[in-house]
Amino acid sequence: MNQPIIDIKNVSFQYRESLILKDISLSFQKGGFYILMGPNGGGKTTLLKLIMGLVSPKSGTIRVNGEKPKEMCCTIGYVPQTLFFDSLFPLTVLECVLMGQLSKLSWYGKYPKAVKESALKLLSSLGILGLKNRTIGSLSGGQRQRTLLARALLCDPDILLLDEPTSGLDMEASTFIQNKLQELKGKKTILLVTHSLAEMTSSIDQAICISTTASLIPSNQLCKHYAMGVYHPGVEL
């Protein structure tokens, strides 16, 4: 087997008195499509934050492309579950997408021309080029998620982390995101946190249940798990 692109070994994470993740070991292969599911508060978002290096584990090691998460740059694109901001926030769609290449900003604060061109191409491929000068606060939920997906993809990351990207979206907007992820399958390693049954039945490589510990769920039991509301690992169905 190839060297995993994300390698998590015996990781535990504690927030104050609460043990969120306990001795988790997981590995994700390059180009794989993985679903993370589990109960609220089970540690799914925390796992994503650990992979991104936004928080540090209490114990254990995480390697992304062989590097410590805090040392990597532009390896990961991230689409958050919800982004709370003022609806009057003075930011256009294009400005938001360009933030996906902040590291390319010159010392005097200009993006290279190539980055702007890539941003426009991405907006076009996601069907929101016409919205480039609209303010982020004026977008619908679906348009906003497409914008955040464009931002995550701008630096052409190897890994795409998505935290319930279709939460609260209507059928059309959800389907668009799901189809886009299917297009990206094999080209990027995708870790998708979701509660949506539709997303889970799509052609994924592996589903993992995160609930303090982590366990792999056989795909033939996936629908059964959710249909019965059983999210916890180790439960016989």
Binding site: M52, F89, P90, T92, M99, S103, G109, R151
Partner: protein, 278 residues
């Protein structure tokens, strides 16, 4: 108005006061939109009030040592940056009780300032000047210093504009892009601190918050792009300050309060115009 123009030509104190007011308004017009967008209005309010602590300590040290280095202006700058960093650290590392820390620093700084100024004889007028502003303090050397600080604020904002925008919108994305988020945030707070010190001279510690956020808030009603918002905010700040000083001269009202009153009134009148973006 003709009388005001004539007075500007003949009265050097008035023209100097107007220039000082406009110089301070320029900085607040630039920094204000970042304060409003990042929602650090109350952080700025806390810094502006806590600054009185540094002013009080420096007034006291000047009284007992006689050293000119203990200038209240330097005291205000040092304390503004000091308290700005403490509040910034509490925002980054102590989020659960951030508002309480802001309130504690707000009252702590003011209390220290009032006590130190009170123990120095004959400083009541000085205290009132710091609280409510006194445009007549400005001479040619102060004006040069104001213009130098304006130039500094403008230069830093030109360089850091997109980085300020990024951390204001989504700190997580900035971390992922390996941006020094903490450093950028502290640069922003330093700019706020410098602007607060500039504004204290004209409008006073108590009313600084009005000039820091209201012109930017009015600008935000007409545009949703930060760069345009800054340009509009600068124009509005200069306009409000000019109107305030003109009214203050015409009716013999205190200039700081008149500027704040004019600004707040125009803000309220602008609210129905919401969503007319350019």
């Amino acid at each position: 108005m003709i009388e005001f123009w004539f007075a500007l030509k003949t009265n050097p104190f008035l023209s100097m006061a107007l220039f000082a007011g406009l110089a301070a308004a320029f900085a607040s017009g630039i920094v204000g939109p970042y304060v409003v967008s990042k929602r650090i209005v109350f952080i700025s309010g806390s810094i502006s009030h806590a600054v009185l602590g540094g002013i009080g300590i420096f007034v006291f040290l000047n009284y007992i040592t006689g050293l000119t280095i203990f200038n209240p202006l330097i005291g205000s700058l040092v304390s503004a940056i000091f308290f700005g960093f403490i509040i910034g650290a509490s925002h980054l590392y102590y989020k659960e009780r951030e508002d309480t820390v802001i309130a504690a620093i707000w009252s702590f700084g003011m209390a220290i300032g009032v006590i130190f100024i009170a123990v120095v004889p004959n400083t009541n007028t000085q205290l009132m000047d710091f609280l409510f502003g006194n445009l007549l303090w400005a001479g040619p050397s102060e004006l040069k210093m104001l213009l130098a600080l304006d130039a500094f604020v403008l230069l830093v904002c030109l360089i850091c504009h997109k980085r300020f925008l990024a951390i204001s919108f989504d700190e997580t994305q900035s971390y992922l892009q390996k941006q020094p988020v903490t450093f950028i945030y502290f640069i922003l707070l330093t700019l706020v601190a410098i602007t607060v010190v500039l504004m204290i001279q004209t409008i006073g510690a108590i009313l600084v918050i009005a000039m820091l956020c209201l012109p930017a808030a009015v600008a935000n009603l007409f545009t949703r792009q930060l760069s345009k918002m800054i340009c509009l905010s600068v124009i509005l700040s200069l306009f409000f300050t000019f109107i305030g000083i003109y009214l203050s001269y015409s009716f013999n009202w205190p200039p700081g309060a008149t500027i704040a009153l004019a600004t707040a009134l125009i803000y309220f009148l602008s609210l129905p115009l919401k969503n007319r973006s350019i």
